[in-house]
């Protein structure tokens, strides 16, 4: 169905373009349009949201280190401080925050191990080593280390 030569009337969801007093020309050519980037650019695509979440996991990392430092101090100061530390960690707010922080730590670990193969183009005899062979051992190490830490601490 061709409508020879006739363009349909333009529908303009954006504000109607205003006629400037003169065309917007710079010295040798018409002015280019440079779209502004909003502060919420990262909400445009789910891939961007995931990226920002991954970057925000660094806050959870810093939080965990802070907790660790507080814990070391509590343990070294004696039984009372340690009890108070445990008590504060048991408050529902703390547990909630720590669950969220833990989720972010998991996000960090998983994205880190999955991205590691991309940063290393390892070739054995000319064939590119499949990504799983690089990230796999890291997952195994992760689980092993977690088990070891639990074992060491829980046998005190």
């Amino acid at each position: 169905m061709s409508r020879a030569g006739q363009a349909p009337a333009p529908i303009r969801p954006m504000p109607a373009p205003q006629q400037e007093t003169a065309p917007t020309y710079t010295e040798f050519h018409p002015r280019w349009y440079r779209p502004p980037i909003s502060t919420y650019w990262w909400l445009d695509k789910s891939a961007y949201v995931k990226f920002i979440l991954r970057e925000l996991s660094s806050v959870a990392v810093a939080w965990t280190v802070a907790l660790l430092l507080v814990q070391i101090r509590a343990i070294s100061r004696g039984g009372d401080a340690y009890t108070r530390f445990l008590h504060r960690m048991s408050s529902p707010w703390m547990i909630a925050i720590n669950i969220i922080a833990f989720a972010f730590l998991l996000l960090h670990s998983i994205t880190w191990f999955n991205l590691a193969p991309k940063a290393m183009a390892v070739r054995v005899r000319g064939i590119r080593v499949p990504g799983l062979l690089i990230s796999g051992p890291q997952y195994v190490a992760w689980i092993a280390i977690t088990a070891i830490i639990f074992a060491i601490v829980l046998t005190r």
């Binding site: 980037i37 502060t39 990262w42 920002i52 970057e55 925000l56 660094s58 806050v59 990392v61 810093a62 965990t64 280190v65 802070a66 907790l67 660790l68 430092l69 814990q71 070391i72 101090r73 343990i75 070294s76 004696g78 039984g79 340690y82 009890t83 445990l86 960690m89 048991s90 703390m94 547990i95 720590n98 669950i99 922080a101 833990f102 730590l105 998991l106 960090h108 670990s109 880190w112 191990f113 890291q138 190490a141 992760w142 280390i145 977690t146 830490i149 639990f150 060491i152 601490v153 829980l154 005190r156």
Partner: protein, 116 residues
Amino acid sequence: MVNKETEPIFWTLFSAGGVVAALFLPAQLLLFGIAVPLGWVHVPAQAGMLALLQSPITRIYLLIVCSLPLFHFAHRFRYTLYDGLQIKHLNEMVFAGCYGVAVVGTLLAAYLVVTV
């Protein structure tokens, strides 16, 4: 402070911190942040924990685990503030803030680990 000579250093610290954070921190948080408060495991006694802390291996381990991830955080958070909030004009402040946290944290960790 941020130029082509120093960027590789910061990136290396970021990488090392990322590996350490990925491998060791989830276990630490899971233990005392979730498992112990929720009663999934028994509470380790203070005396035993103190003895553990005083071993030299633990001291070195804790120093690494507390310091490197903070540098990882500093680098990543610095870039998140640039890109997410587009506040590049506050360049120097953001840099000082992020790495300030990392340096202070490292010093604190060193102090605690030595005086345990």
